[in-house]
Subunit: 266 residues, 2 copies
């Protein structure tokens, strides 16, 4: 199967001393450039599907756009890897965006650091969402089942938005941040509230992902992988529940464990 | 064990319906700010060890510094997370750095895209390094053995520099790019040539990692994980051998397979 998500390449597979030529499915990485009000803003390297969602989610994560009402128009050219977005008058704070960039890193980490400081000053979430531990396990299993591109290529991350019962949105991308941004973009387009929702992620939880979730008032972040010390500290302060290493019957709860109810049987 | 690489946190571990309070080892994420010739350049989020190596490697990867001779002085303040670097006169091309930033992404991906274009115009490597497939397996095993922080916390990536016999340098960091940049910084400080060397990595091979290696004339990139389509295309054009999914007796060779010699027995 060839698609815009994966492609076949001829490779050589070694198994011990046995060498064979095979066809293998490779995840596609492609550039997508976002134009904002006629100006080139940024180029992202990503899995080139749902690029309109990616662009909107990226703008939301960067604080350039807050609601879908900020959007005047959007044109997507999938084959060229272009998304042109026009925002309504006053809503563009590009100076802030460019200003941040000039002192930040090749991986936007400087930006995030300043956001960390902002977030330490911001108010903790007040949501009282509760999720059954068995549901968390089931949703993690479901996400892994749905990770078709990962099963095919082994080279992508998954992200899902869920309530306390089921997965609502699901995305895969070569980048951890892109996968989350696509979910955010889908929420903007579909008018899906992120209140009383959780993120389910395949990748590790860094401070950057924690802050992305906090901006959306996501109360619970669940991952198959590890959190960092900084993400735990931020989650503690912002009243976000952090759950990691969800594997089979096991999980680690790092902060605000009252949101996770232990299943009785199931 | 508390160190600047990991710390103990009190967490709750669920196993089925069993809930217990335990102490768990968490990988530390901390900001490190690089000052260049007295100006704040960038803040990276990283595992806060070898931060002088990280800073030098970052500058090398960004093309701000080429050799250790460009360095006038360096002061490292580990506890504050600061590295102050002064370069000799003409060698700083900050305009290029800032210029790139203003049109690129929260994850530096735009920058990389332009580098991709540059690299497609650059000349293929001419090195004729060859490595035995059994040595590749052994070195991957050795790297996993040495990944102490990963074994402790489950939250970091590994990177190593090797010749065709053995691992020469090894680093761990919460970021894939940081781990590689620390290796690059160590090479600069130690006067270690990267010619006829390979990278051994725990994480997936994106175009960004490929281009980082190409700048150093690294002939072979070996990973436990998957490559992307763009990294394979670039490796093909730049005469770099790409090997992925090195697990046990198995590996996939994506490009220029003549550099990998099949072991006879062993």
């Amino acid at each position: 199967m060839e698609s815009k998500r994966s492609m076949i390449k001829n490779i050589i597979r070694l198994r011990g001393n046995n060498r064979e030529k095979i066809e293998d499915e490779i995840v596609i990485e492609a550039p997508v450039t976002i134009y904002l009000n006629g100006n080139e803003l940024v180029t992202l390297l990503c899995t080139p599907e749902k690029i309109d969602r990616l662009a909107l989610g990226f703008l939301r994560s960067e604080g350039i756009l807050t609601t879908i009402d900020d959007l005047a128009s959007m044109r997507t050219h999938e084959e060229k890897g272009l998304v042109e977005i026009d925002l309504k008058g006053e809503s563009v704070s590009l100076e802030k965006f460019y200003g941040k960039r000039t002192i930040t890193s090749g991986c936007g980490k400087g930006t995030v650091f300043f956001n960390v400081i902002d977030s330490l000053r911001s108010k903790p979430l007040t949501g009282k969402m509760e999720v059954d531990s068995g549901k968390i396990q089931n949703m993690m299993n479901e996400m892994q089942q749905r990770a078709e591109l990962f099963k095919l290529t082994g080279g992508v991350h998954s992200a899902a938005l869920a309530d306390n019962e089921k997965i609502i949105l699901f995305c895969e991308d070569i980048g951890r941040h892109n996968a989350v941004d696509k979910i955010i973009g889908e929420c903007l387009i579909g008018g899906i509230s992120t209140a009383a929702k959780c993120f389910i992620l395949s990748g590790r939880i860094s401070s950057e992902i924690l802050l992305k979730a906090a901006k959306l008032k996501i109360e619970l972040i669940v991952s198959r992988a590890a959190p960092t010390s900084l993400s735990i500290d931020l989650a503690q302060k912002l009243n976000i529940t952090l759950v990691g290493f969800v594997r089979g019957q096991r999980m680690n709860i790092y902060t605000h464990h009252w949101r996770v109810k232990i299943s009785n049987g199931n």
